[in-house]
């Protein structure tokens, strides 16, 4: 088996994370924007602010705009060069990572991501803002799916592939965690006790992770916030649930180190195992009893630590021999 340079593993990991981040942002933007169009009751008018919070970029946003509305949020999350997490920036960074390792990925992968880079750069921000985000977001979303497909079909499933899998799974786990956390806060805690939660908004949450249809097949019931949370946190099979994605991270880490189930070779594996145990055996009732927000905050902190530990274990040579 060819050797895997630490620098290359690092770039693969980040290329995957940026692609995933672009897709996650595109999904959230698209779904929420269209939900807003269908929403007439001003009481439930979708607030744009939370989308910026989910992206974790409130500070630069407020330096640029005075208010969060459909246009400023779309402009900021999709196009702005000064938003390091904007879709266009994520794709540029994914492509830059790909460029440093193009000898290591397949030609098809490189051409795909290079093509995507040129495609999103051809979009004119003003035109797209006028037309609404669907065209742009849909292009990005499907291009990201395509990249997954091209990767799966053309890259040997060796250690490099595992680092990609770890990268996009970890990013996706973080994105879903933030989504549930922010939307719960946004949709429930802002309401008076008497008000009933709004179905429409929870549909948006499900759709933004592509779990709407799966929800109905699983629960055969009207949309209820705690069921949505259960679906997105604990479902073992949905590809965007936190449990599923954490399982992918674990599988990837084990494939790289060769560790068998029940033990761990490094701190990243220990933490992933610990997180996954919780996700496997906690019930949604227990989670609510402990408080959803503290639970998700813990989870987010652990996911970030796993990222740091992966870098420490595999990417950095801090001490020179």
């Amino acid at each position: 088996m060819p050797e895997m340079l630490s620098r290359i593993a690092d770039s693969l990991f980040w290329m995957a994370r940026y692609i995933e981040r672009a897709e996650d942002t595109a999904r959230i933007l698209d779904v929420n924007y269209h939900m807003m169009l269908e929403q007439s009751d001003p009481h439930y008018r979708l607030r744009w602010e939370p989308l910026v919070v989910m992206a974790g970029e409130e500070k630069p946003f407020h330096q640029l705009y005075t208010e969060a509305n459909a246009y400023t949020v779309f402009d900021f999350l999709a196009f702005r060069a000064d938003n390091p997490s904007s879709i266009v920036q994520c794709i540029a960074k994914a492509r830059e990572n790909a460029r440093t390792i193009r000898e290591r990925i397949s030609r098809e992968m490189w051409e795909d991501i290079n093509g995507l880079f040129h495609t999103v750069n051809r979009f004119d921000a003003a035109d797209e803002i006028a037309a609404g985000p669907h065209r742009f977001c849909d292009t990005v979303k499907f291009a990201c799916h395509r990249f997954h497909g091209v990767t799966d079909a053309t890259l040997p499933h060796d250690e490099g592939w595992e680092f990609l899998r770890i990268g996009w799974s970890l990013e996706r786990a973080e994105a879903t965690t933030r989504l549930v956390d922010v939307q719960y806060h946004n949709l429930l805690e802002g309401l008076s006790v008497a008000a009933t939660p709004d179905n429409h908004q929870w549909m948006a949450v499900l759709k933004s992770v592509g779990a709407y249809e799966a929800y109905h097949r699983r629960y055969h019931s009207p949309i209820r916030p705690e069921k949505v949370a259960e679906m997105l946190i604990l479902n073992p099979l949905h590809p965007r649930s936190i449990r599923f994605t954490a399982g992918e991270v674990q599988a990837g880490l084990r494939a790289v180190s060769g560790t068998s189930a029940g033990s761990y070779a490094n701190e990243a594996e220990r933490l992933t195992g610990k997180v996954l145990e919780g996700l496997r055996y906690d019930t949604i009732e227990e989670i609510f009893a402990r408080g959803l927000h503290p639970y998700l905050s813990d989870l987010l902190r652990n996911l970030r630590l796993i990222g740091h530990d992966i870098a420490r274990t595999y990417f950095y040579y801090a001490v020179v021999a």
Binding site: E3, T100, F315, V320
Partner: protein, 491 residues
């Protein structure tokens, strides 16, 4: 069903094309293609301008989508730019190529013997075939190499030797040797790939010799140099993504299936080179380095280099790693030393040079002649490449000529002069007028040497000066490239 209207054959593409006063590679006279160009001429002439334009755009898009770009730094942003590609191929007749191949092989072997000698016994200096001062005054002469026995005695594993066809004689001549880290071979392979997609029918008709064996042959040579035999960990050392030739580095690493590394990926411990992998340090045996000598090892050469690997020269000296090309090759492609290459060929091989040099005047030898005749001459700095540090006398203004006169007087060793060579031309598309015009070309074949035989990619890189009238083919000065064909049969 009605029959499709028959298109009337009219060779519009070359309508009014004037081969002009220079040697035209495609036409022997107006409207008269040379025999080896006949089939391609028919294919091209059958294209309507709109069809030609369509194929041209297809080619540009293919290069853009594959990210085959080089980086330009002059605008401060490090913009990626396409290396302009011209659709009309440069075709070489088989008999002509055979002679070029013999000439290049002879030259590469002689250059290698010279390097081996100059860093070894220095017989050539003792026999007074070349002035000792010329060697020791060369800025690319590396004293650190003296006495190092390189693996299998090979210094010039990879050579890119620039040839031009003189319009006066129609003969191919050597313009310069590049035996440090010649670049451009990736364009040869990519140009061919794109051309086969755009003119599949022409390839069937013309029987073009394939070029794609280069990476495999280079990889075979790299492997043969490993100090640990078959167990060879090979790497390509690149300065990184910001280098203008980065595309080529990654392309070659991928084609050969070897690791592309940067200095920061490597470490030397007790005279052995290692790379940092996710499972710890792994020994490296062979390094195809695309970094200049002076940046290779900050402990030996420039101490401010961040690109290289501290201790690399120690590992090289100890025979624990093979470097390709060898260190110190710059002495052999110095533009003043160049004028002695035909003498090397005679001295080491006992043969006359098959490919002639362009007549060359040395600052140290022919100073007064150079100073007097500057307006008629091309002046070059001996250690520069890429079209930098040059004066083209007939095209230069008086002030520039005066400036060069002073510079040459101040440092004669640093300059050579040559008569202006009227480079041959190939019809090429001119975007400004949307017409086909004759543009000057050179030819850089890539030669690989395994210590026994020299193998050469059929053809090589044809660089073309796409600015009308320009003789400068470098990509930094508006040059482009063409696919270069050597035909299997005679025509």
């Amino acid at each position: 069903m009605s029959a499709a209207p028959q298109e009337v054959f009219r060779p519009v593409l070359f309508d009014g094309y004037d081969p002009g006063a220079y040697y035209d590679e495609m036409f022997s006279g107006p409207g008269e293609p040379r025999p080896h160009y006949a089939k391609m001429f028919q294919k091209l002439a059958a294209l309507a301008p709109a069809q030609f334009e369509e194929r041209r755009q297809l080619a540009d898009l293919a290069f853009l989508m594959q990210g085959i770009t080089f980086t330009v730094y002059s605008d401060g942003q490090g913009t990626e730019r396409l290396f302009p590609f011209d659709l009309i191929p440069r075709i070489l007749a088989r008999s002509e190529w055979d002679r070029i191949e013999r000439g290049l092989s002879q030259r590469v072997v002689a250059l290698n013997l010279f390097l081996h000698d100059i860093y070894g016994k220095q017989r050539i200096l003792k026999d007074r075939q070349i002035p000792r001062e010329l060697i020791y005054s060369c800025q690319h002469f590396r004293r650190e190499m003296i006495g190092i026995e390189v693996p299998r005695g090979i210094h010039t594993h990879i050579s890119g030797i620039d040839l031009v066809r003189d319009s006066k004689t129609g003969e191919f001549m050597v313009l310069e040797d590049n035996v440090r880290t010649p670049s451009g071979v990736s364009y040869v392979l990519e140009n061919r790939l794109v051309m086969t997609r755009i003119f599949p029918d022409a390839f069937q008709a013309c029987e073009v010799l394939p070029v794609n064996n280069y990476p495999a042959e280079l990889c075979r040579i790299l492997r043969s140099l490993s100090p640990r035999g078959e167990q060879a960990q090979m790497v390509l050392l690149s300065p990184g993504i910001h280098n203008s030739a980065y595309f080529e580095h990654s392309f070659l690493a991928q084609e050969m299936g070897i690791e592309l590394v940067e200095g920061r990926d490597l470490i030397v411990d007790t005279g052995v080179v290692f790379m940092k992998t996710i499972h710890g340090l792994k020994r490296v045996d062979v390094m195809y380095r695309r970094i200049d000598d002076e940046f290779l090892d900050p402990l030996t050469f420039r101490s401010d280099s961040l690109l290289g690997v501290p201790g690399l020269m120690g590992a090289y000296r100890a025979g624990n790693i093979a470097l390709v090309n060898a260190v110190g090759n710059g002495i052999a492609d110095d533009k003043a030393i160049y004028s002695y290459v035909p003498a090397f060929i005679r001295y080491y091989l006992g043969e006359d040079a098959i490919l002639r040099n362009v007549e060359t005047y040395l600052g140290v030898r022919d100073l007064s002649f150079m100073i007097e005749h500057l307006p008629e001459l091309v002046v070059k700095a001996v250690g520069e490449s890429g079209g930098y540090g040059m004066l083209i006398g007939p095209a230069a203004e008086r002030a520039a000529i005066e400036q060069f006169r002073d510079r040459i007087r101040a440092n004669p060793r640093n300059y050579i002069a040559q008569p202006v060579v009227g480079l041959s031309r190939v019809p090429s598309y001119h975007a400004g007028t949307r017409r086909i015009i004759g543009c000057h070309v050179d030819l850089r074949p890539y030669c690989l040497y395994d210590g026994e035989k020299v193998s050469i990619v059929p053809g090589g890189l044809t660089r073309v000066a796409l600015t009308p009238g320009s003789l400068v083919v470098n990509s930094s000065q508006g040059g482009g490239s063409k696919d270069t064909w050597v035909l299997h049969g005679e025509c």
